[in-house]
Amino acid sequence: VSMATYQEFIQQNEDRDGVRFSWNVWPSSRLEATRMVVPLSCLFTPMKERPDLPPVQYEPVLCSRPTCKAVLNPLCQVDYRAKLWACNFCFQRNQFPPAYAGISEGNQPAELMPQFSTIEYIVQRGPQTPLIFLYVVDICLEEEDLQALKESLQMSLSLLPPNALVGLITFGRMVQVHELSCEGISKSYVFRGTKDLSAKQIQEMLGLTKPAVPVQQGRPAQPQDRSISSRFLQPVHKIDMNLTDLLGELQRDPWPVPQGKRPLRSTGIALSIAVGLLEGTLPNTGARIMLFTGGPPTQGPGMVVGDELKTPIRSWHDIEKDNAKHLKKATKYYEALASRSAVNGHCIDIYACALDQTGLLEMKCCSNLTGGHIVMGDSFNTSLFKQTFQRVFTKDYNGEFRMAFGGELEVKTSRELKISGAIGPCVSLNAKGPCVSETELGLGGTSQWKICGINQFTTLGMYFEVVNQHNAPVPQGGRGAIQFITQYQHSSTQKRIRVTTVARNWADAQSQIQHIEAAFDQEAAAVLMARLGVFRAESEEGPDVLRWLDRQLIRLCQKFGQFHKDDPNSFRLSESFSLYPQFMFHLRRSPFLQVFNNSPDESSYYRHHFVRQDLTQSLIMIQPILYSYSFYGPPEPVLLDSSSILPDRILLMDTFFQLVIYHGETIAQWRKAGYQEMAEYENFKQLLQAPLDDAQEILQTRFPMPRYVDTEHGGSQARFLLSKVNPSQTHNNLYAWGQETGAPILTDDVSLQVFMDHLKKLAVSSAS
């Protein structure tokens, strides 16, 4: 089977099911699977946009075996006469419910049709609870910034769903919880920014406690509970005018900031109060706690740095030398808040705009565990912040909000497979069962995860283990299956369930290796390995991750390369692997694994986006896209290498976080001479415009909005391009503080060409 058809197959499956597997033909034994080097794994986008898939308005039919409960799907065998179906996961025979009495071969329910391998159900379960948006706003901002932020918040009231509940907490030295009323008299409850309070204490102080009403499992809070919190959370359509005025009247924190000091910012307490406020009153309904901050927390629990300006906020060097005294404690504090929020089903966004760091390293778990956003900018008065923030509220082709809440993903596998874990913006639900592997990769030990904030791009990396014993016969029917069941609250507040059921052929790795090879998805594999690398990097330190990555790459080349022993020049990789080494080359140099070129906050920001995006965007982050525009033909992709920089070309580079348009030397001179203004050089004008038009497409849609660099040969901003295409100068000292273990590694600070040469040498060496 040729590569071209596999590419089509892979693309069709991604389009329909939101799934990209590292391997599309599966090695049938555990031993052989480990020899493949890249684990059997997939990127899964639970809410993959499917404009052509209308949801069905009934409950899914489940397998009756209590330890199974898989959903009826196209892989199930059906006896239409007896009205029975056989579960393809556990083989239990199940009776169809009475509503299915009329089905037949010619009259199948949607969920049995092959084209509905992904299907969405709308289920009616209890009263629909409104969404909640709780703004937590730092008022220790410069006047201009505060004004810009206030305007953005006022604007957002016009973008929220009309029935949503909204609330406001402001903080600086103290924390104020604002009562929202239509009376025009604004009252607030003030908390000291230094004293940590339990959720119960917070609720008591806000007057939110009353005799406990027994809350039934899975049911939302009863209406009378809502009236208590309504002093602080009101429907937008009722409170918009008063809240607009209230926001307009917000002042900078009145406490003066002495010379040489930072403002006292009680972010930790502010977040704690926000989490506690929602926890007591509205658990398990869709909510966003939206933190807007312009500097680091400097007092109270969760403080990241003291208020003395002469003590800088921790850098990676400080952390490496164990010289970051607040780091452990602050991280632990925010992790506890994040976990509580995740249990409650509420997500936390962080909008951090400042020239210096704001403590994203310590606070990132708040967003990473809950599926909330992190947006990082220089100031609230920038287009980057304003438009990125607007895009939180984008709507789809149906005019419905893209954000969704309370995602709970359950995975089921056929018996030859088990689940090792997931990597993405989620928490484990600790659900044990027959599908759960003892080997953990990512968040393991469970077959269920919770993603509180979820949208159409949210993508998890899922890792599996083949458990079939070596030399066991290839299973009957020859296919393994996986089912993904995602329950969530749609932005319309409807409860929905999306079910995706996929299958792939087993193959004996001894006799059919060429089929397995041909079905390798190098793009998916690169991203899945990269997520594993980032996961390791966040839990271990140092060059171990790079060494591990190098080892895997060498092993992969040894296994799948064609070569003569000890003859590097003979080394070849088949087409389905041809881009993989380059991905690994760029991954090793990327900000996800090389932290010393960035601040800890920047690294946290890049990694946050990396482990949640879909495949296409993730790949752009690993290996930026470079397109060349010229007079000689249509725009074309070129090697991400300095040899692609030519005087008469314009280059467009997309790193996901930046869009760079670079004008070659001659182009720059022509532009300066003004040829684009002359009628007879209309084609030059069009050439200049072409990359701008293509960049505009991306600028208008991407979340977060990227930075935009328009530069030319000799320009100071050209460094953004040059640092990506050339071997970095600063990589030299990165291996200095690691120890050589004697294991074969690839050297750093080299060009792609040299990297490839080293790789080939190591792969063919009989000594490895």
């Binding site: 604007m155 100031s379 752009i620 007079f631 022509w670 050439l687 038009d693």
Partner: protein, 218 residues
């Protein structure tokens, strides 16, 4: 499209109008800039240059004096057509033809209709903000695009095109927040309350003067 804030944010991207963004985000297109080139050593062939049209013998380097670019008619093929601006922003630069009386006449019609059933306090709050809007218009504090869009909004409101009026209010608060933030929420509320009025109330109120003057085609 307006340039970003280069003073406050390095490499701040340009700002797009609400209309452009909404249009672009409605349907997610496949990322078209997604091709990569394998490095020459591993794909078997020894081609070291990207595929495509044949290159000239030597890339055009700047010479002194600077040779001009090719002026042949063959244009570089473009990947996509340029994104169209919305109708609303197309006429942004010409003066607004309507007067404040035209606009207020329509808005006041709606407010009067609301006073029959909506709480007095809410109506008063809306009225306060409409007055502020009026003052800003008269004292020249509102730009021409804001005035034109407000006139359009008021007309849509009178025609009971609620969604269109609502979208217009959103486009105004997104694109011109610093001009409108103090009073736009009143207009937002006015639209929301008016659309919920019983039909007899809406149709009982006579058309305000100048309702059928030349439609400002946007």
């Amino acid at each position: 499209m307006v340039a970003g804030n280069q003073e406050k944010g390095w490499n701040d991207p340009p700002q797009f109008s609400y209309g452009l963004q909404t249009q672009a985000q409605g349907v997610q297109k496949r990322n078209f800039l997604n091709k990569r080139v394998p490095p020459p050593q591993l794909d078997g062939s020894q081609v070291s240059l990207p595929s495509g049209a044949p290159l000239p013998a030597k890339p055009l380097s700047p010479t002194l004096p600077l040779a001009p670019p090719p002026s042949t008619v063959v244009l570089p093929a473009r990947r996509l057509s340029a994104v169209d601006s919305t109708a609303l922003s197309a006429s942004a630069h010409t003066e607004c033809e309507a007067s404040i009386e035209d606009v207020m006449g329509l808005l006041d019609w709606a407010l009067t209709a609301c006073r029959t059933t909506v709480k007095r306090q809410v109506c008063d709050e809306v009225s306060k903000r409409l007055t502020l809007f009026q003052e800003m218009w008269i004292s020249g504090k509102l730009s021409s695009p804001v005035k034109k869009r407000m006139y359009y909004l008021a007309q849509e409101l009178k025609k009971q095109n609620w969604d269109s009026a609502d979208e217009t209010h959103r486009s105004l608060i997104v694109d011109y927040v610093n001009e409108v933030s103090q009073w736009m929420v009143g207009v937002k509320r006015l639209i929301a309350e008016t659309r919920n009025l019983p039909t007899e109330v809406l149709n009982a109120e006579g058309p305000s003067p100048k309702e059928d003057t030349t439609q400002n085609t946007q």
